[in-house]
């Protein structure tokens, strides 16, 4: 009786998983490009974003068609709205990967400043957050969603540290002003990515329980 509806839901689900893999990979690449100072790789990150954007549109269309033809209610309704919200967060995460790639290109082969280590650490946690948040959606795992959302605090703390360090460097080594601003922005973008991953976890919490979650 629900066969058609289930098939369509599965199709949307699979497309969303594909989109999330692309996003996660692009964030990964943007950080590698930055730390390994690979501007070519950064270019690829920028190019890949078009594909991510097209996935967002595609999934949005699929959701609208699903609502129009299947009249979802209850958990089906919550699921489809969660997907619609998730793709916005995923798309934004993708945009931040592009922003990081652009900064990588401006830094070029200038020696990287020391706070890059903390930025690497931020990136490591942020990537894990994206990965976990998507998995919490796939497995409908509320515990994982909550644990992952809690990781946001660590990212925020690291960002504060990076921020202060970079401000100090700005005063002591003014010749690195450009890179300092660049890395400050990278820190900010990573912090935003972690926020979007937290949003995803909150949405998953809503999908599972029907109650709004906020961390």
């Amino acid at each position: 009786m629900r066969q058609r509806l289930e098939n369509k839901l599965l199709e949307i689900h699979e497309t969303l998983v594909k989109m999330s893999i692309l996003v996660e990979e692009n964030v990964d690449w943007s950080i590698r490009a930055l730390t390994m100072q690979q501007t070519k790789m950064a270019d690829e990150v920028i190019e890949n974003d078009d594909l991510i954007d097209s996935y967002e549109e595609k999934i949005e269309d699929m959701c609208i068609e699903f609502i129009a033809t299947q009249n979802p209610l209850g958990s089906d309704l919550r699921r489809i709205f969660t997907v619609l919200k998730l793709i916005t967060d995923l798309e934004r995460i993708g945009d931040h990967a592009v922003n990081i790639a652009r900064i990588t290109k401006t830094i070029g082969d200038e020696t990287l400043l020391e706070p890059i280590d903390d930025i690497k650490e931020m990136a490591k946690i942020t990537r894990k957050m994206i990965y976990n948040s998507i998995n919490s959606y796939i497995d409908q795992n509320l515990d994982l969603a909550m644990e992952t959302a809690a990781m946001d605090d660590t990212v925020d703390d690291l960002y504060e540290g990076v921020y202060d360090e970079l401000l100090d460097i700005m005063e002591s080594k003014s010749e690195f002003k450009g890179q300092v601003i660049g890395l400050l922005l990278v820190g900010r973008y990573l912090e935003r990515i972690a926020d979007h991953a937290t949003n995803i976890c909150e949405r998953v919490g809503y999908m599972i329980t029907g109650k709004r979650m906020s961390y």
């Binding site: 009786m1 629900r2 009249n71 979802p72 209610l73 209850g74 958990s75 919550r78 029907g210 109650k211």
Partner: protein, 258 residues
């Protein structure tokens, strides 16, 4: 002008209602309160007891000889099964509209005034007032005002159903029971009835049995889900259709059974 806080009032307070058709129990320990100036939708699969429940609210169900009833239904605090309650009076206060439009084979005029005439209203001027108010309230006036003497059977299905609503309104009820009032109508006629229900709730309390969950979602404030004679869940309509508390409700609204 003082505005009455009508919406807080309870019209029906159903307490431990049980109903049997012979040996078969059709309603099991139903407890629920129905509120004034709200639209209450009753949903559930065929045979779940929803129509029986609604027909119990104006004691229409007693027309079936083998029916036995236990428990209480308080209408404005008074048990409708009490010996002192006159069933005719109850049905004046609680009108009913059925699945299939059932106008009398008479003129539009006579259909609407049938009830008031039985109640002894003879004044022609009053008749015309009731006719116009009822047909206007049922959103039918503009379509029939020039042919009030025509036979009601000449109206379309949707118009006939609105005529039946006008007929119910003509005796000035407080509650209108509707048993799948749009299931025999096309989408446009359905839309008109739904708009009408939305207007009517300003002045009346409406209890509607519907097979369409979309309809329940569109028009009702509260929804009651019945299954096998039991009231499984009763809550705000928005809650029932987005995040029901009971698994049976979730399974029903998502089409897993029923």
């Amino acid at each position: 002008m003082t505005i009455e806080t009508k919406d807080k009032g309870i019209v029906y307070d159903v307490k431990g209602l049980n109903l049997w058709y012979g040996q078969d129990q059709a309603l099991r320990d139903i407890n629920m309160q129905i509120y004034k100036n709200q639209v209450t939708a009753v949903i559930g699969p065929s045979g779940c007891g929803k129509s029986t429940f609604v027909k119990t609210l104006n004691r229409m169900v007693e027309n079936i000889p083998i029916v036995r009833i236990g428990g209480e239904i308080l209408y404005h605090g008074e048990n409708i099964f009490d010996k002192s309650v006159m069933v005719e009076e109850l049905r004046t206060k609680v009108g009913m509209v059925f699945q299939k439009p059932n106008p009398f084979p008479k003129t539009i005029y006579e259909n609407v005034l049938y009830g008031p005439k039985i109640h002894g209203i003879r004044d022609k001027k009053v008749h015309m007032e009731i006719l116009e108010t009822s047909l206007k309230a049922a959103a039918l006036w503009d379509e029939v005002k020039d042919r009030l003497g025509d036979n009601a059977y000449g109206l379309s299905g949707g118009q006939q159903q609105r005529l039946c609503i006008a007929r119910a309104l003509a005796v000035q009820p407080e509650v209108i029971l509707m048993d799948e009032p749009t299931s025999a109508l096309d989408p446009i006629a359905t839309q008109k009835i739904e708009d009408l229900i939305n207007q009517l709730k300003e002045n009346y309390s409406i209890i509607i049995v519907t097979h369409s969950m979309q309809q329940a979602g569109r028009i009702s404030d509260k929804t009651a889900f019945f299954l096998m004679g039991e009231l499984i869940e009763y809550d705000d309509t928005s809650k029932i259709f987005s995040n029901p508390a009971k698994k049976q409700t979730e399974d029903y609204i998502t089409g897993r059974f029923g």
